[in-house]
């Protein structure tokens, strides 16, 4: 009965979405307040019913109700409970349901927390959000129903891909989706503004918190995803320029550009139509990403033909949403009046460079991701575009970006005094340069770009700290004065500092772990000793271990340095009999300075007997990647908590004027 209620709840959500896509839009056009306000209750209603459906599906997974086809295909009674829960969004249908849940969550968010948004804009935004909802709900109900039933039910389910049985999977898609789908509301705001024909500084302020929320989750999601790849795939890498990664990275790049261009729109009334375009494109890339991954296009172009019904629906959805919004943009954007003027050397100028570089980088990644698909579709030739392409195209684009990032916050709006800025920064520049040379000296063989990147990261970090220090007059005023200033600084500005520092920290990790990694792959027999980055690793042997739904071969590695015991590592090779597949569980010794990473693979051949393929890596600074990512998210959160983002709500307006502003 419960799966059927879930099914019916989805149908009701579709009905509500249909009403919400028409009535508020008409209300905004006619100035009918009741119709406009209906968007708020229907947006909440949609959330409730989609949540009921999601809960029903999750219930079916938790109790292993194999009358639900989705459960029978993606779960198994033996599976640990946490992965049963996570399997809810592990399949195509389930992940669409999660997608829709987050879509409605953001809609409901605007309905509940958007009290400072004018009613017409809010109504139109929610209506556009409902259009997306109608598209996804109908796609799900008519082509990818998560509640298809089986009768008679199979005795047991056919398990979830064991690669995906991991805590990373449990958290990764939900976070990534919150980011992906979060940009839907920014898209809806943009389309609503185009329909309304009014984009101004206030609009940018209203949209800002939603952009921030989406950007934060996407950052967190990507970071978790790379963390998962790092310790689950057993290759020691954290980013592979894999299309699945790229499709989440592109909205991030463009979303970052959007975040910055919206600041210009907010502060200076400029970049209006560019901000709108970015909002549309960011979500379009999210949509494209969702569908590229979900349609199986990535494995092969032919996957599309296997399920033409879904394929055509997807193409139609993409065509209508992206094509429609861009057409609307082409029609309405020219009517927007330009904003304030500025000289090339100014905060605006810096942000413009940021935007251009980020957009170019997005284009590069998009090209690298889609080119193999098009090539295969047209010529049938299969190629893969890998790290060499991105190292040559994407990485060089990032270097000037980091340089400008250090500089940007010092520039003032409209016209800036470059000489003055240079005077303030020469020390930072000098220290960075010296640091660069020192690094070069230590690692003589290191590639030039890595050293350059490292130096730039230090530059970015120091410049960001200097800017922050200058704002609070650190060391130039008594400490109590600096403390007071720091507390009075808007949270958004702390947020910027934190996020920029976070990126610098990330770059340390990127460069350290890829340019200076030490790797040994060898056939190991009990007693084999290898030396990696000063560590002596002795392979003691492999034993069989039984897990809840797998059998593992667990190796024991004894790690010493200069004869001193450091730790023991236990990498595993797990075999899942039900799913008939195996996974690698790497063993990692984490330290801030670097990770010692070990994984084993099955014996090379039958004759090899006890010989295992042992892979040991030392990855310097790799944990800085996730530390930096966390700082990025934290920066977003700080910014989001800024009081100013809530200005405009009537309750705020009633605050007595004599109360000290709390910024």
């Amino acid at each position: 009965m419960i799966p059927e209620l879930g099914q019916f709840a989805l149908a009701l959500a579709l009905g509500l979405a249909l009403v919400q896509s028409i009535v508020p839009m008409m209300g905004a056009a006619r100035g009918n307040l009741v119709w406009m306000r209906s968007a708020q209750s229907t947006a909440l209603g949609q959330l409730v019913f989609v949540a009921v459906a999601f809960g029903a599906l999750m219930w079916a997974f938790v109790v292993s109700d194999f009358t639900v086809k989705n459960v029978a295909d993606n779960s198994n009674s033996l599976k640990p409970m946490i992965y049963k829960v996570a399997a809810t969004w592990g399949s195509h249908e389930g992940s669409l349901l999660l997608w829709t849940l987050i879509l409605t969550l953001f809609g409901a968010g605007v309905a509940v927390f958007g009290a400072n948004i004018p009613h017409a804009l809010r109504a139109r935004t929610l209506a556009v959000q409902a259009w997306i909802g109608v598209g996804f709900l109908s796609f799900m109900i008519f082509t990818s129903n998560p509640f298809d039933r089986l009768s008679p039910a199979p005795v047991d389910g056919s398990d979830l891909n064991p690669l995906l049985q991991d805590i990373g999977l449990a958290l990764h898609p939900p976070l990534l989706y919150v980011g992906y789908v979060g940009f839907s509301i920014v898209f809806s705001f943009a389309v609503a503004a185009l329909i309304e024909g009014r984009v101004d500084a206030a609009w940018a302020r209203w949209v800002r918190p939603w952009t921030l929320a989406a950007w934060m989750s996407l950052t967190g999601g990507i970071a978790l995803g790379s963390w998962w790849a790092y310790y689950e795939l057993g290759w020691g890498g954290w980013w592979f320029w894999d299309p699945v990664e790229n499709v989440s990275f592109m909205p991030w790049l463009l979303g970052t550009a959007l975040l910055h261009s919206a600041i210009v729109t907010e502060k200076r009334g400029a970049f209006k139509s560019w901000t709108i375009l970015l909002a549309i494109l960011t979500f379009s890339l999210s949509l494209l990403g969702t569908f590229i991954v979900r349609s199986g296009l990535l494995t092969s172009v032919h996957a599309f033909a296997v399920d033409p019904e879904r394929g055509v629906y997807i193409l139609a959805l993409l065509g209508i949403s992206i094509g429609g919004s861009l057409t609307l943009y082409a029609w309405r954007a020219p009517a927007m009046e330009g904003g304030g003027l500025f000289t090339p050397i100014s905060r605006e100028g810096g942000l413009l460079i940021n935007n251009l570089l980020l957009a170019t980088a997005t284009g590069t990644v998009l090209f690298g991701t889609l080119y193999p698909l098009f090539l295969e579709a047209i010529t049938g030739e299969k190629i893969s575009v890998g790290p060499p392409f991105y190292n040559m195209s994407f990485n060089p684009l990032m270097l000037p970006l980091i340089f400008v990032m250090g500089l940007g916050p010092f520039l003032s709006w409209k016209r800036a005094d470059l000489r003055g800025v240079a005077q303030r920064l020469w020390l930072v520049f000098g220290v960075s340069f010296v640091a660069m040379l020192v690094v070069w000296y230590i690692v003589t063989k290191g590639p030039v770009i890595a050293i350059l990147a490292f130096g730039l990261a230090i530059w970015l970090m120091l410049a960001t700290l200097q800017e922050w220090g200058a704002r609070i007059k650190l060391f130039r005023a008594p400490f109590s004065e600096s403390w007071r200033r720091m507390k009075n600084l808007p949270r958004a500005s702390h947020g910027m500092t934190m996020a920029h520092l976070g990126l610098a920290v990330c770059i340390f990790g990127f460069v350290g772990s890829s340019a200076w990694k030490d790797e040994v792959v060898t056939f190991a027999e009990p007693g084999t000793k290898i030396v990696v980055a000063g560590f002596t690793v002795e392979f003691e042997g492999v034993e069989r271990v039984r897990g809840p739904n797998y059998i593992a071969s667990r190796a024991t590695l004894d790690v010493t340095r200069d004869g001193e015991f450091i730790t023991k590592l236990y990498p595993e090779r797990r075999n899942y009999p039900v799913a008939q597949s195996s996974t690698t569980e790497s063993a990692i010794r984490h330290t801030l300075a670097g990770d010692l990473y070990a994984s084993i693979a099955a014996p090379a051949s039958e004759q090899a007997g006890n010989a295992w393929t042992l892979r040991v890596l030392y990855e310097p600074l790799v944990n800085f990647i996730w530390l930096g990512s966390f700082m990025l998210v934290l920066g977003g959160a700080l910014s989001l908590s800024d009081r100013r983002l809530r200005v405009g709500a009537p309750r705020r307006a009633k605050t007595p004027a004599n109360v000290q502003p709390a910024e």
């Binding site: 009965m1 009741v34 229907t42 019913f49 292993s64 004018p118 017409a120 109900i141 005795v155 405009g648």
Partner: protein
Amino acid sequence: MMFWILGAAMALVAAVIVVLPLWRRGGAQIGHTEGALAIFVDQLKEIEDERVRGLISDEEAAAAAVEIKRRMLNVEKQGGARIVSKGGALALMASAVLVPALAGGVYVLNGAPGLPSQPFAERADEREEDRRIADLTERLRARLLAEENGGATEGWVLLGQTYMRMGRYGDAVWAFERLEEREDVTAGILTQLAEALIAVDQGAVTVRANALLDRALQMDPLSPAGSYYKAQWLEQDGRPAKARELLMLRMRQEDSFQPWMESFLAQINRLGASIGEAPVTLADFVDMPRGPSAEDVEAAGEMSEEDRGAFIRQMVSNLAERMEEEPENLDGWLQLGRAYGVLGERENALAAYRAAEGLLDGLAADDPRRGVVAQGLAANGG
């Protein structure tokens, strides 16, 4: 019942949600002008704060403030849209009806309201039953393996078939393989082994399975399973026309309906559709009783006088044999009587019409067949 109550409650909630704005008139609502002004006022305050703290010069602050004030004027000039806070109730009420109706319609398309949930924990009985079968199967296996002569053929067949039903195709292959080289192996066992192999390979007919099919068809050219999977092999080999032909041929070798014909027919038509052949029906193969078909007659026309006589006699004796099995078939007897009459075998013709006469009782008085029987009897001296 519970489902319908809860479903109705959910539908009601959805309907109420749509009309909610008609009752709940509270809540914050601001127009564009006031909302934008609030933000600009805040921005002015911010600039003032920054000026006081010395982050920007007085000059810059003044310029920024002028710019923001210009924006404020702009917003006020644009003004807000005219707002009506009444009316529109009808549209909302209509929507409130529409939502559950539409959802109901969608649900009817997709749902299975009668199908109960079956949580894993509540299916212990079913698992017990499965375990019992698995247990019995295991015991059968152990006994067959223990027997000195390698186990009775029937035992292995039973074991293989049980494995097939359990979906353990690999084990089924193993069981049938025990019999592959035995002297008493039948075409049926070989086709079952082939079938298990095909199941293991998820529908792909491997070279080995094909060899088994060939062997089975050699032993029993009429094995339906042999022909069926042989056609599958031909299709996977890129010869759909040939596959269809093989299936058609096997169908034609039967005179009466067989249970396996439905699946043959489905295959024939699926293959036919892929190569542009018109669909066929069961009636094209088994019509009861069946006289010589148009093709047969055409074939007869090309024969020598002698051959034709033999051919017709063969057809007639076929019919006669069938009539022994179906003595109640009036039309059959009439056809047989006429055929004997043409061949000049008057005694046989007379016997056929006599048999037909016995079946006339239930017929209406004006049934034309009464006349046919009377005529036949008279013509053959009855």
